[in-house]
Amino acid sequence: MSKMKALVCRECGKEYPPKAIHVCEMCFGPLEVKYNYEEIKGTISRKKIEQGPNSMWRYIDLLPVESTAIIGPHAGLTPLVRAKNLGAFLGIDELYIKNDTVNHPTLSFKDRVVSVALTRARELGFETVACASTGNLANSVAAHAAAAGMKCYVFIPADLEAAKVLGNLIYKPNVVEVEGNYDDVNRLCSEIAGEHGWAFVNINIRPYYAEGSKTLAFETVEQLGWRTPDQAVIPMASGSLLTKIWKGLHEMHALGLVDSVRTKINGAQAEGCSPIATAFKAGRDFFKPVKPKTIAKSLAIGNPADGYYALKATAESKGAMDAVTDEEVVEGIKLLAQTEGIFAETAGGVTIGVLRKLVKQGLIKKSDLTVAYITGNGLKTQEAVVDAVGRPFRIQPSLVNFQKTFKMGKNSGGDS
């Protein structure tokens, strides 16, 4: 029997064979993967996982693929950094950074979900993959497709910045600029996915794609010595990452890999695009879509597909949500860089900014074992901090000039 039992509707529970479908034919609810947990329980163990590959594929028993012909075999197993300096600054005894700024090959957590999506797509017989993206997702799909020798289409809004277009073109996918706004691109891609026999990673392959995010939960638990954290702070765009980390923690508990799940799940958004956090703070179980206006572009999803489920997961875990201004995003990026030496993209600034707020509000306590999820590399969004990092010291090429600039005496040591 396969470890994958079916695709199941998250709304009405109707089951479907695990093919390239994503919407329930009955109620139009989203589909997700249902596993044969009883069978997996018989084979999975901490020891087996620890002896697995040095990548997220050590958790293959809980990922929706059938073969071992993996596309993206090096994704995941990124460092869980004990953030002593940042923890001391914020007033948390045990703070960790899950550092996906160094994920392979494109330096964001998207390499996890895309690796799963393309592996499954090839298993299902697809040779062409596609996505609609303005940044990290496009980079990852294009890179993985190039390495796998698959045809690739990337759809982007026609007014996207040149640097971001270049980041995709280097892998030589078919980059399609769609004349229109984000809504037009959304609609076109949905219709193309319905018409053409392609694997659209975040449309008809989405049930598999989204499962890749669970590996962030699995790795965190293993790297903490098979413990779940007290608090997790997670950036939200579609809300999928947060819901899958919650699902991953519960799978580990159901399979006996951890004794309990005590984690409070906290969601982070930028104020310029905070439909989920705003709904949570207002006590609503539904969100109102917004037009994004924030520097945190990788989180700028105004009508998030998993917003409802993110609200539900956070409420179940007794966690919280909050949002930060663009200025606080930049401060968050700088704070993480200057305390821990980790340069995160704007989504990381959102996470650190919200972490800071939750500590100030007393929702995260000094003694809470806390993990903050940093999902992308700062080199991707340098424009966000270019005016906030100061200038280099400029000197004439003389020793005297150097010593004057740094107020050093003639024979003083290196540090003065």
């Binding site: 919407v23 139009f28 303005t134 891609c189 949905s190 219709e191 975040n202 879509p289 990788s298 009508n303």
Partner: protein, 79 residues
């Protein structure tokens, strides 16, 4: 004939209006509501429209003209 799926949102001032009934009369499309949540101040529905592609496009424009917001069933897919 084509069938396309949409997520329709109703602003508060449109909740009482029989917009889907009107669309079924004004355009040659079959309207089929699969899931909905209508409350005092907000409402949405997941709707299937079946017909010729161009007629579906016209029906979508018609729903928008009546003040509703139309998204694909997947909501935002640009990530």
């Amino acid at each position: 004939m084509t069938s396309l799926r949409f997520h329709i949102r109703f602003p508060e001032n449109k909740i009482k209006e029989p917009i889907i009934y009107q669309i079924g009369h004004e355009f040659k499309v079959v309207t089929n509501v699969r899931r909905a949540d209508v409350r005092e101040t907000t409402g949405w529905m997941d709707l299937e429209l079946t017909g010729e592609t161009e007629e579906i496009e016209r029906a979508i424009d018609g729903i928008r003209t009546k003040g509703c917001v139309v998204d694909p069933i997947e909501l935002n897919v640009v990530e």
